[in-house]
Each structure stands twice: as structure tokens, then as C-alpha cells.
């Protein structure tokens, strides 16, 4: 079985999948959503963003929607992206994998703070 491009799932790709869970977004919308959900720790540049988007498209994890305008950003038509069911499934399994890791870390008592 050939190795898939997204195995393991890179952090940027996972963040993009998460960004698209709630709504369809264009490139800049994805960048802002990722920055927001990572508290500004990850600001995807165009190169990283679009090369990740390309791989996600190739893997069928996201798909393109019809170009349209973003009312907030003006009248230029933008390409929007949407999460596919395969993308949602992968995001869920990655989140579960991370949750398992977190459980182990908790058991080993290496975590600090009350929020985890």
C-alpha cells in the first residue's frame, strides 16, 4: 500500500480542516480562522496555505465551491473551500488520536495547569 501524502497529518493541514468545520471559507478566511483557533500562534503564509490546500484537494478531504464575493472584503470573487465527509472523518480521527495522547500525558502526570 503506497504511503499517503497526509500520513501523518501535518499540523497546517489539520488546522485547515478544523477551520472549515463550521463554514466554507476562502483562503484569507482560512488563514484568519487558523490564527484565531491557535491564538495567533499559527499564521499560515500563502505558500504553506495553498500548498496544503492543494494536497487536501488532491486527497478529496476538501473541495472547491463556486467562486463568490465576500461581503466584508469587497467585490472580488474568491474561491471558497468546503470540508468533505472524508475530511471531517479524518479531522475527527486525528482529534481522537490527540485525545489519546493527552490521556497518556495525563496519566503520566506531566501536565500542569487546571485547564487540561
Amino acid at each position: 500500500m503506497p504511503k499517503r501524502k497526509l500520513d501523518p497529518l501535518p499540523s497546517a493541514a489539520f488546522q485547515i480542516l478544523l477551520a472549515l468545520v463550521g463554514e466554507d471559507l476562502h483562503g484569507y478566511g482560512i488563514m484568519r480562522q487558523v490564527a484565531e483557533q491557535t491564538e495567533n500562534r499559527m499564521r499560515l503564509g500563502p505558500g504553506t496555505l495553498y500548498s496544503s490546500i492543494r494536497v487536501l484537494l488532491e486527497e478529496g478531504l476538501i473541495e472547491e465551491c463556486d467562486p463568490r464575493e465576500d461581503a466584508r472584503l469587497g467585490e472580488e470573487r474568491r474561491r471558497y473551500y468546503r470540508l468533505t465527509s472524508a475530511g471531517r472523518k479524518l479531522a475527527r480521527s486525528e482529534a481522537e488520536r490527540l485525545a489519546d495522547l493527552l490521556r497518556v500525558a495525563r496519566a503520566k502526570k506531566i501536565l500542569r495547569g487546571r485547564y487540561v
Partner: protein, 461 residues
């Protein structure tokens, strides 16, 4: 200046990346530059971009170009082995090192040669920009037969669409100016637009336009510096534009008919809500020649409602004839129906009363959002002027005067608003300013607000 710098940086990326995402990358840069003003945010932006280029450039050069063929068409991917990378194992560290070194050398060479950069002979044609059928005029009624414009420049073959030189740019600008002067409704503004376009070209503001689509967008933007007219637009098409307007082609009409069939003629929802309130979610005003029966069926379905809500929050306009057709149901006598695209004729009145129609005296609520545009704004504006509806939501886009498409050459065309009808209600209309709603609420709350208003109104009756 900074956009020009980023455009140069983008040229370091391989052609397959620039073809697919060059335009979007530039757009993303513009968005960030607009939102991140001031010294520190701007510094952070550039650091981000340089770091991003360092990480993504080697990856892009290592990317297998064949995969890009399927990148834009995920629907074709099922079962095709290009899902997978060609190797079972990761590249060896040595290969990564050589790749990285090569990238650095390429980067340095490109930087060194930037000062002498001219149109590369091996550049590929880009896929940016709107296809002719995707222009923002696609929502309007297919254009009437349009004799070849006297102002159109003679069609010339476009040998190298990816690399516009000064002469080609000048030809497109001259073609746009000739059409503007000949057809634009506001002659003073047309002259100012011509001066602005020439001034920008003279100052080298168009030199950063990497490809024809960006150049077309730039010219559109420059005309809007004079007047923010959203129906005035210059578009580029990768495939050669037909000699005759698209609207006349039977293929385009057949495609439109098929699309309308799939979309139920843009009637997304038609239902009777509790308290006998009719609700129609209409996402465009389609051509009545094709959608008359679905439109009649929708109106018949809500015919016995005690109040009616038109949800136009996602409606981008369409055919004025459908706007007028639906408005006929809201009056019991022929009512003058202002259409900014046509001067007054005998067809300027609604065909009211509609036989068997019960809606003429029922309260009407129209939901709007900033996305509501053009023909949908006409519906709102006229009903508001006639005091026939309560508009709920946010101010809309401000598109009133539809454009007629003029071909400049095989790849460039310009849509120009050409008529300005007399408005019986006031000196202006909603062009460029939108229609002010009667009840200003967040569009997301407009539906609930309309229901509440309708229920209260029905309670009083």
C-alpha cells in the same frame, strides 16, 4: 510598492503553483496588507512571508507536477493512483539536503536576476480570471443582440497570454477607453476614467500585474477610483471570447435552462409557516421565459397566506422581467415599476391584477443583507418607494445600472452600464448606496424579526 515586492517573491515559485494559486496568494497578501497596518504589524507580515517562502518553496519545487492536473478537479480523483506519492518511504536526508541546496541556489539566482527580469519565454498560460460565462453579468438576462461595437478594437490573436507587454496593455487600455467614451452613461466620468487609466499606465502602476486577469482586475479597480460603479467591469478570459455576445448562443441558453432546472429556478424554499405566513427564499430572479411556471407555482403555493416574507439575503439579482413578474402579485392594479435599466415604456407597469391572486393586500416583508444586489435591490427599492413592503436587514450592495458587454479583443471585454432611466420617486436611486432597510437588524436575525413583525401585525388585524 510592497505588493510589487510580493509579486516578485511569487515569481520564485514554480509555474504550476503560480498558475493555480498565484492570483489567490497575491489576493491574500493584499488582504493582510490592508488589515495589518503600522510598522510592527507590517514587519511581522514580511517576516511571516519570508519564513513561509523559505518553508514552502523547496516543497513546491519537490512537488510532482503531474499531481497538479487533478488539483483543480477533486471530483475526478476517485480511484486514480495520483492520490498517492510515488515512493513508499520518505526522501533520504541526503536528497532533502541536495533539494534544499538547489532551492537556495535557485532562490539566490532568481533574486540576482530580478532587476533584469523580463517576460520569460517559457511562461505558461494562466488559468486565472473569470470565464466569459462567469462574469458578474451572468446573472442578468442574456444580452440582446449586440452589433459589433464601432469602438471595439480589431480582434488580434493573443500569442502569449501569460506575459502582457506594454504594447498589449496599451491596446487593451485604448480599447477600454474607446468603449467607455462611446457607451458609458456618465460622459464626464468616462473622460475621467480614461485619464485615470492612462495616468496609472504611465506611472507604471500596471507593471506589477503578473497576468492578464490581474491586469483586468486592476483596470476595473482604477475605473472605480473615479466612480464606484459595480456594474462597470473589465474581464479577462483565458479562452477566446466569441465574436457575438454569449447571451445569444443556444448552448449558453441550454446550459442556463439546465442549471435553473437543477436549482428549481432559484426558489430555494417555498413554505407556509405557522400563523399562515408564506415564506419564499429566492436566490436570484431568473429569466421568466424559462422559469415562469416554477415562479407561478411558488406564488400559487403561498397565495392564501395572511402575510408573505421574501428572503433575498442571498439574492444577487438577475432578470428585471422576473422582478416585475413577481411584483405583479403584490398589487391589485397596474403599478408603475421603476427599472433603472430601461426608459419608460408601455411595459413599465406591473401586470396586476393577477387573476385569482389573493396577495395584493397582504403585508409583505423582505429580508436583505449586504449580499443582496442588483435586481434584488430593485425589488426592495420599488416596493419601499411604493410603501408596499417592510425591508428588514442590512443595506445592500448598490448595483442599479446593468452593463452591456463589449468585446475589446479575443481575451478582454468590458461591461458598461449604458442607460439611466427617469426615476419617478426621487432624483437618485440605489446605485452605489444601496437601499436603506426599514428595520435595521443583523441579517442573521432578519428572519426572526420578520416573523415577529408579521405575527404582531396579524394579531392586530
Amino acid at each position: 510598492m510592497s505588493e510589487k515586492l510580493y509579486a516578485w517573491l511569487l515569481r520564485l515559485y514554480p509555474s504550476h503553483f503560480r498558475e493555480t494559486y498565484g492570483d489567490e496568494s497575491l489576493q491574500l497578501f493584499r488582504d493582510r496588507a490592508r488589515d495589518e497596518k503600522g510598522f510592527l504589524p507590517r514587519l511581522r507580515l514580511w517576516l511571516d512571508l519570508l519564513l513561509d517562502a523559505t518553508i514552502s518553496l523547496p516543497r513546491e519545487y519537490l512537488h510532482i507536477p503531474s499531481a497538479r492536473v487533478v488539483a483543480s478537479g477533486p471530483q475526478h480523483l476517485n480511484g486514480i493512483p495520483t492520490f498517492y506519492v510515488l515512493q513508499n518511504a520518505s526522501p533520504r536526508p541526503g536528497a532533502l539536503f541536495v533539494g534544499g541546496l538547489l532551492s537556495l541556489v535557485t532562490l539566490a539566482t532568481c533574486w540576482a536576476s530580478l532587476g533584469h527580469y523580463k517576460n520569460p519565454a517559457n511562461s505558461q498560460a494562466t488559468e486565472f480570471g473569470y470565464a466569459p460565462g462567469e462574469s458578474r453579468f451572468a446573472e442578468t438576462r442574456p444580452a440582446p443582440p449586440n452589433p459589433p461595437s464601432a469602438a471595439s478594437a480589431a480582434p488580434r490573436p493573443f500569442t502569449q497570454p501569460d506575459a502582457l507587454n506594454k504594447t498589449e496593455r496599451k491596446r487593451v487600455i485604448e480599447g477600454a477607453i474607446a468603449n467607455l467614451k462611446a457607451h458609458y452613461i456618465d460622459k464626464d466620468a468616462a473622460q475621467k476614467m480614461a485619464d485615470t487609466l492612462l495616468a496609472h499606465e504611465k506611472h507604471g502602476d500596471n507593471d506589477a500585474a503578473m497576468d492578464p486577469a490581474t491586469f483586468a482586475a486592476l483596470l476595473t479597480q482604477q475605473t472605480r477610483e473615479v466612480k464606484p460603479d459595480r456594474h462597470l467591469t473589465l474581464d479577462y478570459s483565458q479562452s477566446p471570447l466569441p465574436q457575438q455576445p454569449l447571451g445569444r448562443s443556444p448552448e449558453v441558453l441550454a446550459h442556463y435552462r439546465q442549471e435553473m432546472k437543477k436549482q428549481n429556478c432559484a426558489f430555494e424554499k417555498v413554505e407556509i409557516l405557522p400563523r399562515n405566513i408564506g415564506y419564499l427564499k429566492l436566490n436570484s430572479f431568473p429569466d421568466p421565459d424559462i422559469c415562469r411556471i416554477p415562479a407561478m407555482a411558488a406564488m400559487t403555493y403561498v397565495n392564501h397566506a395572511d402575510a408573505i416574507i421574501f428572503d433575498l439575503r442571498d439574492n444577487r439579482g438577475g432578470d428585471p422581467a422576473m422582478v416585475q413578474f413577481l411584483a405583479a402579485y403584490l398589487f391589485d392594479h397596474p403599478e408603475y415599476w421603476y427599472n433603472p435599466r430601461e426608459n419608460t415604456t408601455e411595459r413599465s407597469w406591473t401586470l396586476s391584477p393577477v387573476p385569482g391572486n389573493d396577495l395584493a393586500d397582504k403585508p409583505v416583508y423582505v429580508l436583505t443583507s449586504p449580499a443582496t444586489f442588483s435586481g434584488a435591490e430593485q425589488f426592495c427599492y420599488d416596493l419601499k418607494m411604493l410603501k408596499r413592503a417592510t425591508l428588514i436587514g442590512e443595506t445592500k450592495g448598490g448595483g442599479a445600472h446593468a452593463g452591456v458587454w463589449h468585446r475589446i479583443d479575443d481575451h478582454f471585454g468590458i461591461g458598461i452600464p449604458e442607460t439611466k432611466a427617469i426615476n419617478p420617486y426621487s432624483t437618485g436611486d440605489w446605485a452605489e448606496v444601496g437601499v436603506e432597510p426599514d428595520v435595521k437588524v443583523n441579517p442573521a436575525d432578519a428572519y426572526e424579526t420578520a416573523l415577529k413583525l408579521a405575527r404582531n401585525k396579524l394579531k392586530k388585524n
